[in-house]
Assembly symmetry: C2
Homo-oligomer: 219 residues x 2
Amino acid sequence: MDVAEEFNPVIIAGFGHFGSTLGRLLRAHDIGTTILDIDSDQVDRLRNMGFKVYYGDASRHDLLEIAGARKAKIIVVAIGDNEKRIEMVQTIKKHFPDLQILVRAANRYDAYDLMNEGMLHIYRETVDTSLRMGVDVMKMLGHRSYTSMRAARTFLKYDEQKLKDLASISDEKEYVLTARKYIEELERILKDDRSKLNASLDEGWDEGSLIREANSNSG
Amino acid sequence: MDVAEEFNPVIIAGFGHFGSTLGRLLRAHDIGTTILDIDSDQVDRLRNMGFKVYYGDASRHDLLEIAGARKAKIIVVAIGDNEKRIEMVQTIKKHFPDLQILVRAANRYDAYDLMNEGMLHIYRETVDTSLRMGVDVMKMLGHRSYTSMRAARTFLKYDEQKLKDLASISDEKEYVLTARKYIEELERILKDDRSKLNASLDEGWDEGSLIREANSNSG
């Protein structure tokens, strides 16, 4: 690995679509990141795009050491392979216990595995986009922009809270019953919230509605 | 396919993690959805969870007809297989031209293919989550919550706008040059926006910052 002697607060392991989107946001804020990717073609492609990407396997602790894992604050595990992610997380925990680990997950089952590895910052890769799509469906059907977005936020918050409970259930029958209970409970919360909002708000909301709500509440 | 004679404004094709997250949000708002999935094990599992899911291949126009595609307003193509998605989109366009199609995409290259099929509502499945993760990295490093979230919104908006331009470029060299130009332009936009915000805002922002900004702007 040809990593220069530099100190960056963030290491990104895996620079495909997921990692590079995140990496571009950080770069725009001058947040120093050391980027590692194991796919040499991808490394070349990204260098052509102007990224400083290093070829290297972030599940090897000696390479993480060279990449500055001892001095970094945060490592983002953004690779797409579930098993390799678990391996990487185990290596990082063992050799760099002070690093904050933020890790991508494929879905909720993958998230449970990561929770059982002690991970606290888990990001299920499609959950936000599917909720945005849901918000857009709602808007197309005439629902208000603000209420739709608020519902999606409430959804994600509740769903994330319950992940931890569900991760600890090993019996399949109990899992299904509990998951079903949470699904129904979330729907009740969303319905209650909607009734309250509908009772108190005017029609004709749009993009600027949050600002206007804030103004009218304060006035 | 055992779809009852019912009219629902929304059809969801594919009810894995992506489709079911969206479907749960819609159900909580009493939006009638007809759900199709081709995986019979998944159909059984979801029925156990309390979902009304029908077994059926949504790339077959006769099955879409039975599922109510003639009367529905929106179809969500939420399956995970890129090639199958294109096939499904082509069938829907041909047989049900009045249906609004919202389609999931794996990444930007997949999105280009869908654009070239005339799709207007394309949702790249990991883009929102990777941006949320980026926002959290920024916050952990001391950036303000509001400025971080605003940066992510600006990022997504700009990136989506430029997708269409990039989809039309077939020459690889030109593609790399143009993509690189857009990446740099977006970083400039984010940096300028940040400078302006930093010049005008106090420290110590948190979750309620948008509301407070709205209040102070109006006052």
